[in-house]
Amino acid sequence: MTTAAQDAQLLARVVEGDHDAFNQIMRSHEDRVFSVCLRLMGNREQALDATQETFLTTFRKAGQFKGNSALGTWIYRIAVNTCYDQLRKQKRRRTDPLPEHLDPADHAAEDEVQAAALRPEIQQALAAIPRDFRIAIVLSDIEGLGLPAVAEILGVPVGTVKSRVFRGRRLLAAELGNQIQ
């Protein structure tokens, strides 16, 4: 059976109320959804909230999945939109900058970063660039997705993704350079 057919079958089972099927979907995609959310939100707790909301939406919308894209792509798209919504809410309510440095005494924070395996300077540089460019390079260069998949997730043409990745890398390099100086 093809992956697409398996995806469709799994979602059909979810719609019918099969909890095991939904758990299976979560297990298959939760790490990648969390990873994308962490890079976008820049904060582990907020990334967990966004991951949870992503799967709630996935469950609610399971009956609307048409199978036009891969299940993973569809879930990523939900994740990106969820993160965008949460970032918008944050922006209106408060400014919550990333910490300048980690307190060495704060082992929890240290563990978080180690677990995320993303150097703080890269996370800070990512947080400093506009989100359209940030998400393009996160999906393409960290998550390793192909340009067509990124285009489908973001709902933009492949050419736009290419341009965003290119400009995003340029902006990131500039931010990293600023930090070194």
Binding site: F34, T51, I78, Y84, L118, L176
Partner: protein, 278 residues
């Protein structure tokens, strides 16, 4: 050979540099020659390489085991709570109207002159499609929905029975054209912040307002302020106005394809749907 110009780098140059950085080229000679040809291109290549290597050096994050079990627990808790107290969706309010209409149409088909003689297939067929449209139109006409008045250019009259504002023709045309822009991607995420937002003093947050309008699983893709209302438009083609202080949120279903999604306009002053373009 392609060169960077004063007008900026060309697409081909960018493609070539990106391919070189990503190690996708079998033959790198053209790309190497390109970046040697101009300090600007060399600088671009080096910046791309720094960023790409920094990003590729990172490993996608993973949930810890405790986070994973918390996630599963929280998701199922939320789903159970939601199932237990799920409010009726906004369109469910239309169900009694639709049911009543079907009864009226059915009765009319049987008792009106010629109704019994018209033949089962011919009488029944339009009910599923064409007559549904005309039935909707007649409801709007009876409730005054098709003829909202404009009051000194300040407010739109609303239809009392429907609870949803029915925009005048000019406003409908305006909303439809804005919906078309949404579907073309003009208002997609990246552009959200380029539109100004005029908020009334007691207006709730945009998402909360959209939620309050019964659109819980919708995302806001744009906001329209006075500057983008018909009254202020450059064309001046309509005299219809949106209430002076109101701003409009433009929302689509969360995971919908923008190209085909219903586009809903919510008045952020009243948190009510003012127009739905499907």
């Amino acid at each position: 050979m392609t060169r960077a110009s004063n007008h900026g780098m060309q697409d081909h140059d960018r493609e070539l540099i990106a391919a070189l950085v990503e190690g996708r080229l079998d033959d790198e000679s053209e790309a190497r020659a390109l970046i040697s040809s101009s300090p600007e291109l060399r600088e671009e290549y080096e910046a791309q390489q720094i960023a790409y290597e920094a990003l590729r050096s990172t490993i996608p994050a993973k949930l810890s085991e405790s986070e994973r079990s918390d996630l599963h627990r929280d998701v199922w808790t939320a789903l159970r709570a939601e199932t237990a107290s799920r409010p009726a969706p906004w369109y469910s309010r239309l169900a009694p109207v639709a049911a009543g209409l079907l009864v009226v149409i059915g009765v009319a088909t049987v008792f009106l002159p010629g109704g019994q003689d018209s033949g089962g297939d011919e009488a029944a067929a339009p009910l599923s499609a064409d007559s549904a449209t005309s039935a909707s139109t007649s409801i709007a006409a009876e409730s005054g929905g098709g003829e909202a008045d404009v009051d000194d250019g300040e407010t739109l009259e609303t239809t009392a029975q429907s609870g949803e504002e029915a925009p005048a023709d000019g406003a409908a045309a305006f909303y439809s054209s804005e919906a078309a822009r949404v579907r073309e991607g003009d208002f997609d995420e990246g552009n959200l912040e380029t539109f100004s937002y005029t908020r009334t003093s007691n207006a709730p947050d945009i998402e909360e307002c959209v939620d309050a309008a019964g659109l819980r699983a919708f995302r806001v893709v744009a906001t329209l302020s006075e500057a983008t209302t018909p009254q202020e438009s450059a064309t001046g083609s309509t005299t219809t106005s949106i209430p002076a202080e109101a701003a409009i949120a433009v929302a689509v279903p969360e995971d919908a394809d923008l190209g085909t999604a219903p586009v809903v306009f919510v008045d952020l002053g009243t948190c009510e749907v003012v127009y739905t373009d499907e």
